[in-house]
């Protein structure tokens, strides 16, 4: 996805003089040619993440469309007040694009991991948040968000599904359960393939989204109404329950049960290794999801 991101942004820099790229060293090598051609619009500030967001806010105030990029912890967590004030409070737009989502940087340890990025951004109003599950979804998301004036966050991942699905505001249904089905499973971004495999023998509806904010409450409400039970299992690749309040809002008018899977909130996993090993430790591998789904849907 990182390569797709670079190719898409390089193309946007070429095609739209409003586009600017703001970096803090990370990934700068992927934009060297654009930096030489458009030195005023490819701005590498050095390792200065607070200035990276502040400069993006200032660029937006002049009508530019800044794309801002770094590892998730350095893009969202370190300069969080800048995101709140220099973008949100100024009513300035930008497209923030992170790599290293959740535990992608497993070998790098906690300093380079950021499972709370979306939960943190979710404390601020007015953000579009996308979690592509395939490189083609990443480029489609960028093509949707770069032309706008809004505030958007794209969380790129090292893990992909086998096939891309359309990026848009609605939940995309992959499997429809019977009228007596046990409920609905919502898979976000790179969780889809393993969710499909984990729930293959269950009578449930499986829906997918790469757009988590705004969340398709109406779509979920419709799917839950058509299912045998209005029970929802939410599988997100970041902090557990990040979208649980959206599910609650969507189903506020009826009795329902809900369970969220994601990176646990109660402990810091002090381990290196691979993203697959972290997924397993968090119960986000196929086996872990399958067990949680069976328990939750009372199969």
């Amino acid at each position: 996805m990182r390569e797709t991101f670079a190719a898409t942004v390089n193309r946007a820099l070429e095609q739209d003089p409003r586009t600017a790229l703001v970096l803090a060293v990370i990934s700068s090598g992927m934009f060297r040619r654009s930096a030489a051609r458009y030195p005023d619009r490819v701005i590498d500030l050095g390792i200065r993440e607070q200035a990276m967001i502040g400069v993006a806010g200032g660029l937006a105030l002049t009508g530019m469309r800044p794309v801002v990029h770094s590892y998730a912890p350095f893009l969202v967590e370190r300069p969080f007040e800048q995101i709140k004030l220099d973008l949100g409070h100024q009513d300035a737009g930008a497209v923030l694009v992170s790599i290293g989502g959740s535990y992608d940087a497993a070998e790098a340890g906690r300093t380079h991991q950021s499972p709370g990025d979306i939960a943190l951004l979710d404390t601020l109003p007015g953000w579009t948040v996308r979690v592509p599950g395939h490189p083609d979804e990443a480029s489609e998301a960028l093509e949707l968000d770069i032309p706008g004036d809004h505030r958007a966050y794209l969380r790129l991942s090292g893990t992909s599904n086998r096939a891309a699905l359309p990026v848009g505001p609605r939940l995309h249904v992959l499997r429809t359960g019977s009228p007596r089905s046990a409920g609905v499973v919502v898979a976000v971004g790179p969780m889809l393939d393993r969710v499909l495999e984990a729930t293959a023998d269950l009578d449930v509806t499986v829906a997918y989204t790469s757009t988590v904010r705004p969340f398709d409450r109406e779509g979920l409400s419709t799917l839950a109404a058509a299912a045998g039970n209005a029970d929802v299992l939410l599988v997100e690749p970041y902090l557990r329950g990040t979208s649980a309040h959206e599910v609650s809002e969507a189903l506020a008018d009826r009795r329902h049960r809900q369970l969220s899977l994601g990176v646990p909130r109660d402990t810091e996993l002090r381990a290196y290794g691979t993203p697959a090993e972290h997924a397993r430790a968090h119960g986000l591998d196929t086996e872990g999801i399958a067990k949680a789904a069976r328990d939750f849907f009372l199969v």
Partner: protein
């Protein structure tokens, strides 16, 4: 517009500040930012209420957002704000709070209050104007002026922007530091050195001397951003 005509002079600023702070004995002229703000809007910045949305206007960013009464007073004196608006300041439905909000205040380029945000925003604005190639009808390039306090410079975010602006050669960016020696641990060797070492042009000036301020704000065009250190004693 009669009120604007009535309250449009430097000498009116204490009365305008009095409309907000409501203290007859308060000496508005003692506000540390007052003279710098006046000189900027009266002599330096090319921006008026009529050009407040013009892409080629000069931008003034009040980074030190606390104590904004002098700023509001100058905006009122120059016609950006209606004088009666000042009276209701900090009320629920007033556009004027103890920290300015750009979405609410006509003429305010940024919302500020939390320290250390204006300079990075100003650098981005300067870079954006340059990238867009914005020019006035007479082909001159608009400038961006950011006001910070010497105490505010404690915030590390300023130093990210000071270094980056110097390296990027943003000579359409000016910072005016209101230096009333309020930084908790001081700035040994002076505030100006922090800018100088990063490649800025630095001018130190009496922050109450209008002619000296006007001259100090003369633009650089040699690739160096400009820092004007305006020394002010509170209450002087």
């Amino acid at each position: 517009m009669t009120t604007t005509a009535t309250f449009s002079r430097y000498a009116d600023l204490p009365a305008l500040i009095g409309l907000m702070e409501g203290d007859e004995k308060h000496n508005g002229a003692s506000v540390s930012t007052l003279d710098v703000l006046w000189v900027l809007y009266d002599r330096v910045l090319e921006v008026t209420p009529d050009t407040a949305e013009d892409p080629a206007r000069d931008r003034f960013l009040l980074s030190k957002g606390h104590g904004p009464a002098a700023f509001y007073a100058v905006l009122a004196a120059k016609g950006f704000l209606d004088v009666p608006t000042l009276r209701g300041w900090t009320a629920f439905d007033s556009p004027l709070g103890h920290h300015p909000d750009r979405v609410l205040v006509p003429g305010a380029e940024i919302g500020s209050g939390s320290l250390g945000h204006g300079l990075p925003l100003g650098l981005g604005t300067a870079l954006g104007l340059r990238a867009r190639g914005v020019r006035r009808a007479d082909r001159t390039e608009p400038r961006v002026v950011v006001l910070v306090g010497d105490g505010e410079l404690d915030e590390g975010s300023n130093h990210e922007a000071i270094a980056a602006a110097g390296r990027l050669g943003a000579d359409n960016l000016t910072v005016v530091v209101i230096d009333n020696a309020s930084a908790q641990h001081g700035w040994p060797g002076g505030v100006g050195r922090r800018f100088e070492v990063e490649g800025w042009a630095v001018r130190e000036v009496n922050g109450r001397d209008h002619d000296a301020l006007d001259e100090a704000f003369t633009r650089t065009r040699d690739g160096r951003p400009l820092a004007v250190v305006a020394r002010v004693r509170n209450g002087s």
